[in-house]
Amino acid sequence: MANPKQEKGKRGAIDRRTFIKGAGCATGMALFGGFHFVRKTHAAEGPIKLGFPIPLTGPYGTEAKDQQAGAELAVAQVNASGGVLGRKVELLVRDDKLKADEAALRAKELIESEGVQLMAGVFSAANQLAVNEQCKLHGIPYMSTGQSNEITQLPDNSIYTYHEAFDPYQTSQAVGGWAGKNLGKRWYFLVADYAYGWQLTEGFRRKGKEFGFVDAGETKHPLGTSDYSSYMARILAAKPDVLFMNNFGKDMTNAVKQAAAFGLKKQVTIVCPNCSLSSRMAGGDEVFDGVICGTSFYWEMDHPTTREFVQAFQKMHGRPPVDYAGYAYSGVKELLGGVNRAGKLDPVALAGAIEGRTYDNYKGKQWWRPCDHQSQQDWFIAKSKKAKAQYDVFQIVATISGTDQRLMRTCVELGLDPNKPIRSGLIKK
């Protein structure tokens, strides 16, 4: 007869008694928190740590590195002028692999293990929201530097959340306004099938009504599509005057490239509402010839702070800054500057130091709206030009001003009080 005790030697076999013993042990410990040490993760002295999760690996590695470069410049400048509250700032960059749960994990690790006091960065909308979530749970101020509609809305928004970058809605209002005045009436949308694409399209439709646009239709494509040939027939059949590429990065470059190959440019004006410099460069002169691009920033712009920023950036990194570098630079500078002005690491004091502030870090006048911590700013319309030097690819044809909140959704629309600064989500620590 088999001895049950002998069975323990077998692969993975467990004796019931041992099991119950073990289970009881672990449960007991969990219940009584017997091993609950209180570990001080926030240093009272030492450097101020700024967490910075970005997608270093994956298709947006270049944009991520640009963000890092911009943040590094800002941190270097702040440290050179005395740091924050007299302490040096340390930038802790982490790779979020463009996955939202990885971003959440990185943020968790930065907060719980590294003890960061501040957070910034993040590229994709989903990742921003994931990082924001972790920051809200732990009361860490977070400066977001990528496009997202949700981050300034409830339930994601909070006193800890700040948004330096544009959002899809504002992009659509800026570009839609220009297109309505300057281009044909029949509008067609090639939409990346996710929140970003949907939101851009909705915004364009809204703005287009002011100009009496004709909705020629839309085609949604799965995110990350490489082959757009199948969409050309639909687009051509709709006979539009303007084709809006409501997508980003590789999707946009591929779509424009293939639209050009199908001879679309002969009949249609192509507009890329959010065309980053890297996308334009990846596409090349010929592909983007005649394409209208919307961009947050271009390094050759004739503006005093732009020149200063570009000079400093080129000195540090040996190349001119690209759009996302600008967001990161300005965002980090604002966050660190805010803490200095507040005089302490208190979220309410920080909010007070940032809200309502007018500033100009690199591209023109910007303003922090108190009700949702969104940075009001301008957008630029550019035409592609034949590159005479490596980064010399754009010619700015218009500046779309963002003043008087004309491009943003109103506070009321977002479910917020226009007269009160945002204080939701404040936790007691």
């Binding site: 993975g12 073990g22 040490f37 939202a100 749960d101 719980e112 994931a130 972790q134 339930p155 929140a195």
Partner: protein, 324 residues
């Protein structure tokens, strides 16, 4: 010698002891929690691969749907954490029930491809159904909830407490799985894995047996997903993508398919390496991929299997010496 004897007599006690000190020996506690959650997922996956011999490439569907179910329950239905976890487990089982029904008749690579295809279908549905799942933005704002047990309210927010909370479920799952595998059903499973035709000729309805194993595998994976949702207070859409399936396959193989502890070791090695390597270089994938390749080539039984082989070989030589 006496020590080794004690270890082999009470292997699981030492495993429990190890789990208990585990959070203190890894660089940070969040990593320990991640490891045991993924370890649980790999344990569930191993029921399918190691114990039933079916290579599935669609387990992300169970993990992810379990996570979403738990999150949605806690966001919309109840503040009770037990319901959330139960929801996750059941969702994993139900998804496996459905996917299994459509895939189980096929074997080998066709089975793998079918599971992959159906898992991608689940991903697509979740992505499009943004009103329910948040789409690509994920399911957010899952509240941090305390555990209510026997009238007590226990807060589990601190990293260490949460680790032990998860550990309880890991242990319960190990216990449950052990009972199942020791039972007659477990023996039939082994028979089906070793030789399907023979088992069928003995009168067993092998496709039903495999289907049930698949469901059990899905349930455990769903529970792991639910715990993950509680851990991050968030469910990302990538939890349903095929790369998540690929990751659990790699972990299971790395750790060793033939045991309970193998999947946990695999998860631990994979995540620890990934974590450490990512801080050193952004090209960590090349090392992880390389290690995986070495494993497949030279250590197909995984880390744990290889350790067992070494130990048993030593034991045989010692015995030979003694008998000589």
């Amino acid at each position: 010698m006496a020590f080794r004897k004690t270890v082999s007599k009470y292997p699981l006690s030492f495993i429990f002891l190890f789990f208990i000190v585990f959070p203190f020996i890894v660089p940070y506690k969040a990593l320990a929690t991640r490891i045991i959650i993924w370890g649980l997922f790999a344990l569930g996956y191993n029921v399918c691969l190691g114990y039933t011999g079916m290579l599935s490439f669609g387990h992300a569907a169970f993990f992810g749907s379990g996570a979403y179910a738990a999150g949605l329950v806690l966001l919309r239905v109840s503040q009770n954490i037990w319901f959330g976890l139960l929801g996750g487990l059941l969702m994993g089982a139900v998804t496996a029930f459905i996917l299994g029904y459509m895939s189980i008749k096929r074997r080998g690579i066709y089975f793998a491809m079918l599971t992959l295809a159906f898992a991608q279908l689940v991903y697509f549905i979740a992505f499009q159904w943004a009103g329910l799942t948040g789409g690509d933005n994920g399911l957010r704002n899952i509240p941090p909830l305390p555990v209510s047990l026997l009238g007590l309210t226990i807060h589990i927010e601190s990293p260490l407490r949460f680790y032990f909370f998860v550990l309880v479920f890991v242990i319960l799952s190990l216990f449950a799985l052990n009972r199942i595998l020791q039972s007659p059903f477990g023996h039939v499973l082994k028979a089906v894995r070793e030789n399907d035709h023979r088992a069928r000729s003995c009168g067993y309805e092998t496709s039903n047996v495999r289907w049930l194993a698949f469901i059990i595998s899905g349930a455990i994976s769903g529970l792991a997903g639910a715990l993950y949702a509680l851990y991050l207070h968030f469910v990302g859409i990538e939890s349903l993508y095929w790369t998540t399936s690929g990751q659990v396959v790699m972990m299971t193989l790395l750790g060793g398919m033939g045991s309970f502890i193998g999947p946990f070791i695999g998860a631990g090695v994979f995540l620890y390496l990934e974590d450490v390597l990512s801080t050193v270089t952004e090209h960590w994938m090349i090392f992880l991929g390389g290690i995986f390749i070495l494993c497949v080539l030279f250590f197909p039984t995984g880390v744990w299997g290889t350790i067992q082989e070494i130990v048993s070989r030593k034991r045989t030589t010692v015995k030979q010496e003694r008998d000589a």
